[in-house]
Symmetry: C2
Subunit: 240 residues, 2 copies
């Protein structure tokens, strides 16, 4: 069974790292998983080793051991051996660049299809989408393609907000998503507010957190809803 936990963000501003999703992560991973494989490639400001340490501290507290895909050894083999994959946030372009560089796209897809749990937040959630074309991140590095893991049949917009900066002429988040829809008419976009996430189990979707999602489809008014279970009736088709 395909199992994904796709979180908007790791941390609410002013709260501690991975505090809000902790219970969701523990429930999702359950007690049979002993070790997770961490993918740190989205980190740009901090070194991958430092990112691993921060993650390790929190997953230790939750009762899971951690290996980083960047520890000594072959990254592809690590994916093959992993019991669960956790992809941290940061810059989505950097993340995808290194996923291509180490040729991990297909291995991750295969393992997720086999049923190992996948957890992502922010850039890690973008990576689960058909492409990274609804990321908020600056394209600071150029991956060979914007095609991503394609684990779900829609795009996510993590850190979704309908806040509009006063007296600023730049595009709002809704403007940007609507531009995406103008060019990609058949691809829905799910705006995931901070403190929200989706659990996907095969064709079933469940919302976690306290905020509704906002669903954007071309030519339709955006839909604010907590009822995500039936949003994608053709979901099964895409997952096979």
């Amino acid at each position: 069974m395909k199992q994904l936990l796709l979180l908007s963000n790791s941390t609410m501003r002013g709260h501690s790292f991975l505090a809000w999703p902790e219970e969701h992560i523990k429930t999702f991973l359950g007690s049979e998983i002993q070790e997770i494989l961490f993918i740190p490639y989205a980190a740009v400001h901090i070194a991958w080793a430092g990112y691993k340490k921060a993650i390790q501290k929190r997953f230790d507290e939750m009762g899971y051991a951690i290996e980083s895909v960047y520890d000594k050894g072959d990254p592809v083999e690590k994916i093959h051996r992993a019991d669960a994959i956790v992809v941290g946030g940061g810059n989505t372009f950097a993340l995808l660049y290194h996923v291509y560089r180490y040729q991990l796209l297909k291995p991750i897809q295969e393992r997720v299809a086999e049923g190992i749990p996948y957890i992502g937040w922010s850039a890690g959630s973008n990576l689960a989408c058909p492409s990274i074309r609804t990321t908020n991140d600056m394209p600071i590095i150029e991956p060979p393609s914007m095609d991503a893991l394609n684990l779900i049949p829609f795009q996510l917009n993590p850190h979704y907000t309908d806040f509009v900066q006063p007296d600023h002429g730049g595009e709002s988040r809704d403007d940007r998503i609507n531009e995406f829809l103008t060019i990609n008419k058949d691809m829905p976009v799910v705006g995931l507010r901070e403190g929200s996430g989706l659990i996907v189990k095969d064709e079933h979707i469940q919302l976690v957190g306290n905020n509704p999602v906002k669903i954007f489809r071309h030519g339709e008014k955006p839909l604010e809803t907590t009822d995500v279970a039936n949003l994608f009736p053709n979901f099964r088709i895409f997952l096979t």
Copy 2:
């Protein structure tokens, strides 16, 4: 002589289209130029024909005729015949996608090197940079490369703002630019606030508008300044 007018934005929120830069555009183009060639490819929400109409109205008022690169005829030939090139704002990825699609990168570079004036705002200013990797735009469409016109030896960040959205965990603009610098250590980034622009004449740079620029270099504190004339002492090297 290479001549560029690179504007942060076309329009201040609450003011009319191209109001703030009107005098700068007229001074820059002068009275010998009679017709400008407009590149509308950044438009996503509005049709290119509609974008041309909006531009036409304003350039008519300034005393310039306008042709669109998308009017009937060969776009490359239009570039070859142009007396001045004006590249409008919108989505930078869409703009670059179509510039590659119509194979206009080299023709525009050649004409600018020959001395015809180039005006860009927002996405049109991103296009003048070595790459579009400091755009704020969502990567809604995938150009074959992020390499752009490379008319200046630094990156611009149009619509630059140091505003930080309250209670939001997403990256600030400064975070994003610093991520760019971490990966692109030798490439300065000039944050152009709204209502600002640069005039570049060969190796000479002049600031227009009422706001200082903010210069970001790797490993240095960002520098807020109105004195742009001597910021890039090696500028001549890059322009030859």
